[in-house]
């Protein structure tokens, strides 16, 4: 049976723990190792934090999280409907942060890239940003 996760919640920091734990729970039928689950939780937390901190400025907005598994690979998409990113290449480079003095490490995308097997970041035509990431759960870590 093809299972699929779809969830949409307000982009507030209280939802970070909720969303990373929901995605982790969705992965359980794939028999993940503890390290695989930790990697996924951390990567999802980074993507969601980006939405919470950067996507909407002072406006309110939502975060959409989708996930499905195919051939042992978990695919996760995190989408917001905010302002998007003008220079994605710059944004994903290590230690870049647009947050100025707000004490941001600037390694969110680096964490996602390192902890997952693949990462795509793109602005949606209708506005907002999507992060696609995937991880092969059949691979030994």
């Amino acid at each position: 049976m093809d299972n699929r996760l779809y969830i949409k919640v307000p982009a507030i920091s209280e939802n970070e723990a909720f969303l990373r734990n929901v995605v982790a729970a969705f992965c359980v039928p794939l028999n993940p190792t503890v390290e695989q689950i930790d990697d996924i939780k951390t990567a999802v937390s980074e993507a969601v934090t980006n939405c919470v901190v950067h996507a909407y400025g002072k406006e309110k907005g939502d975060i959409e999280v989708e996930a499905y598994a195919k051939d042992g690979v978990i695919h996760i998409r995190v989408t917001d409907f905010g302002k998007g990113i003008t220079d994605i290449k710059k944004a994903v480079s290590p230690y870049f942060t647009s947050a100025g003095e707000a004490e941001r490490a600037g390694i969110g995308f680096t964490v996602m890239k390192t902890f997952m097997d693949g990462l795509e970041v793109f602005n949606n035509p209708s506005g907002g940003l999507s992060v696609n990431m995937w991880k092969n759960m059949l691979k030994e870590v």
Binding site: E14, E35, T49, V52, E103, A105, T110
Partner: protein
């Protein structure tokens, strides 16, 4: 969250639970008050009971590191769980806050 405890010659920041954006401000404020008020120069981030942290936590630690070194203090990290250790290692933070055994 986090709680400070004076032990031997150091201030220990003992982290408990999960550290992310949702508690970042509270954690920063609490730690800054402690750093401001103490004469002790050695700080240890005790991560034994920290069950999750993302790069928001790295930002918080680096921010506190800057405040502590401004007062000529030193910072160490001890006892991170594997999930937290992986993010810390990736960030390169151990180069400025060495990992010590307790």
């Amino acid at each position: 969250m986090v709680e400070a405890e004076n032990k031997r010659d150091a201030v220990y920041f003992k982290f408990v639970g999960e550290l992310d954006e949702s508690c970042a401000l509270k954690v920063k404020d609490y730690m800054d008050d402690v750093i401001e008020d103490t004469k002790i120069k050695k700080f240890v981030m005790d991560l034994k009971k920290l069950t999750f942290m993302d790069s928001t936590g790295i930002g918080i630690l680096i921010g506190r590191y800057k405040k502590i070194t401004k007062k000529n203090g030193v910072v160490f990290i001890t006892d991170p769980q594997p999930v937290v250790d992986k993010v810390l290692t990736l960030s390169g933070i151990y180069q400025i806050m060495p990992k010590i055994e307790e």
